[in-house]
Amino acid sequence: MFYRESGQLKSSYVADQAMFPIAQDRWFVFGVLALAFLVAPFFINEYWANAILLPFLVYALAALGLNILTGYCGQVSLGTGAFMAVGAYASFKLVGFFPEVNFLIVLALSGVVTAAVGMIFGLPSLRIKGFYLAVATLAAQFFLIWVFNKVGWFYDYNLTGMITVRPIDFFGVRITGPEATPAAKYLFTLTVVCILALSAKNIVRGRIGREWMAIRDMDIAAELIGIRPLRAKLSAFAVSSFYIGVAGALYFSIYLGAVEPVEAFDINQSFYVLFIIIIGGLGSVLGVFLGSAFIVLIPILLKNIMVGGMGFDSGMAGHVEILLMGMLIIFFLIVEPHGLARLWQIAKEKLRLWPFPH
């Protein structure tokens, strides 16, 4: 009744190609953004920022990167954790060398460094596919983490091999470390994530994105119609790694503040991000936000309900949480194997017909 596009006539190409062609969608997105930018910062406290919103945003960004590679270009990667580590260590070293440089530039450079590393490890994708490629990217995972753990230069010869973020100001506002206000950390991360998500949405709708999807759907056919696999695949690796690198830099600098490579960027991290895009929906920008919300936030919600609300013992709650999380994942994958984004799409279809489905 309310969600209906009839009467919304498109009289120009611009209107026809809009990101959100339906007015209700557009207003909804604007509403969410307004809430996130204008309202949330006034109410945010440290718990909401450090425990909920920052990990949600950072993982959404990393998942967006992986989704570009896996969801749009069809190349499976298990090296996400390592690429996040590249971004984190790049930002650590860059801030060490050039403390005066604006942090946005540092972030971008960290992304570029990660993109370069990602392209090197993407080279095998020209020859191998599917599970075999996953194993090749697994090599990146183990090799890079080993390097960051082994070579003292990367962690400034710290005794324990940990890297700790330095105090960073962004136009006079502290954004890292304990002195930064939760609102500053949150707004900075949110801005970066929104800009990158917007660019991603546009890249995948454009020529490059279509090349990726052609390669994903059938690489031989794509080659026959004139798409160069080398360029398409490596550009997917580069763009994907750029996103993951920026996510890694934010993960280290703003969210955690101190990391050691083995725990923070291990193989579980790669799986974690992979689960986000599988649950959220492969090949969907909305999906990474839904997936990240599911994987990052549901455990915290379950924990708070069980410990805070129902008075469970924390250890007991920890076990039940693992159990429930597993059940929920299975439940959602049975209900909709294409992820939460697809569920949302179905819901939209139904809404259009509501309340007269026939």
């Binding site: 718990y47 450090n50 324990t160 105090p167 955690l256 309900i305 805070g308 609300g309 076990h319 439940f331």
Partner: protein
């Protein structure tokens, strides 16, 4: 449908319950525990957490809290995972009415996260014998306390024990001492000290990393079998300890030349290897066993009332005792804070002062029912470690018990002192901390 009902019930309960729970207005002392009862390190984490919580319950049940103010023991499950640890910390730090009076992160990774936050949030960190060693320098780290002894002190203690067996520090020359360590910040902590001592005493040192969680150590022990080091030190945790001891047994490495850090010396670690673990050594800063008067009190006031967290017959295990003694020092610091500030309504800020003036001597230990259990601890403004002594305990597989077999070694301050100075100075420079005067 079932799931939907379940979720519905859960949400309803979540909304309804707080109404019944609230109501108590009296001041309470919030002492959180960051437990890990899940994950690969749970077998060790559970025992420690039981000891910690049982002691706090005992104070509530027997004495009505500390100086008449009840303790509120808030638990949070970290799974030894840094991200969950951050969530836990943010959740518990502001718990009303007092806010967290101190935090025992129980993981080197989480401790490193919290060190810069402590001074801003005014929550003292009690990283008991773990975490950042150079935090022993109270001038740079006013909010961090790593009593009773750091990893570096312990490394010097263990090397002194080795020297005693070999016939003096001069006899270490030309000996081979290897370190099998958890490949993380925790495991790497002692390396610098062991290297510094290798230069000084002329033994040959080598570190062999084992990746977390440590189930795969075949290659490491093959190397040890080949190169036959005279002594092997173990810096492991959780499942890694059990595997290391089993692997050592399988290459017939002499157990009395194999010494674990104090986190590698509990019943959980040696029992799976059976008789083969007989003679295995580990560091210790307190006695094993459940025969102290305090243990009787815990049985009487906590377990007889059905309030115990664990099994009654596991009281007195090494890690249980460690959690218990940790809670003892923490609550003594709270007591001290009350004494200094003349109020029972203390906050984290007061407890920091309490820690800094902490002085648990023999007489006090006797009063607490822990006479001879551990050594006296006295903290000052510049020294947040205390005396840093460590003894060596040995596993008796037949009797299934640990026995302390050495004296308590004083740390070699001439080795650790300059290292602590250098590392804390580096931290101060990196984070713009001005060391305070003591």
């Amino acid at each position: 449908m079932n799931l939907r009902k379940l979720t519905g019930a859960a949400v309803a309960a979540a909304l309804a319950l707080p109404m019944f729970v609230s109501g108590a207005n009296a001041y309470e002392l919030v002492i959180p525990s960051m437990d890990y009862r899940t994950g690969p390190f749970a077998p060790n984490g559970i025992v420690f957490a039981n000891g910690w919580s049982d002691y706090l319950t005992l104070l509530n049940e027997r004495d009505g809290g500390i100086n008449g103010v009840k303790i509120k023991n808030v638990t949070c499950e970290t799974g030894y995972n840094t991200k969950k640890g951050v969530e836990c910390y943010e959740k518990i730090k502001g718990t009303p009415p007092s806010g967290a009076l101190l935090v025992q992160p129980l993981s080197t990774g989480i401790t490193y996260q919290l060190i810069p936050k402590a001074s801003v949030d005014e929550v003292p960190i009690f990283s008991m014998g773990y975490g950042r060693t150079s935090a022993a320098n109270g001038k740079v780290f006013p909010w961090v306390f790593n009593l009773p002894a750091t990893y570096w002190s312990q490394a010097t203690g263990l090397v002194q024990y080795i020297a005693d067996q070999e016939g003096g520090l001069d006899a270490l020359k030309g000996k081979k001492i290897y370190l099998v360590y958890h490949n993380s910040a925790y495991g790497k902590e002692p390396i610098r000290t062991l290297e510094a001592m290798a230069d000084k005493f002329g033994y040959e040192f080598r570190g062999l990393p084992v990746d977390s969680p440590g189930q795969e150590q075949k290659a490491t022990w093959l190397q040890i079998r080949k190169e036959k080091p005279d002594w092997v030190l173990l810096w492991g945790w959780g499942v890694m300890n059990q595997v290391a001891i089993k692997e050592a047994a399988s290459i017939r490495y002499p157990m009395d030349h194999f010494i674990g850090v104090w986190w590698s010396g509990s019943e959980n670690d040696v029992l799976p290897a059976g008789d083969a673990a007989d003679g295995y050594l580990s560091g210790a800063f307190h006695a094993p066993g459940g025969g102290f008067p305090l243990h009787d009190d815990i049985r009487k006031h906590v377990y007889d009332k059905g309030l115990g967290k664990g099994d009654r017959d596991r009281i007195g295990e090494v890690l249980y005792n460690r959690g218990m003694v940790g809670a003892m020092w923490a609550t003594e610091a709270v007591r001290k804070a009350m004494e200094i500030h003349g109020t029972t309504e203390v906050t984290g800020k007061h407890v920091r002062d309490g820690f800094e003036a902490l002085d648990v001597d023999e007489a006090r230990l006797e009063e607490l029912g822990l006479g001879g259990f551990t050594y006296p601890v006295k903290i000052t403004c510049e020294n947040h470690e205390g005396s840093g002594k460590v003894a060596v305990q040995q596993w008796d597989a037949k009797a299934k018990q640990w026995n302390i077999v050495s004296k308590f070694y004083e740390p070699l301050r001439d080795v650790t002192g300059p290292l602590i100075e250098a590392d804390s100075a580096a931290y101060a420079a990196e984070n713009n901390v001005t060391p305070r005067d003591c």
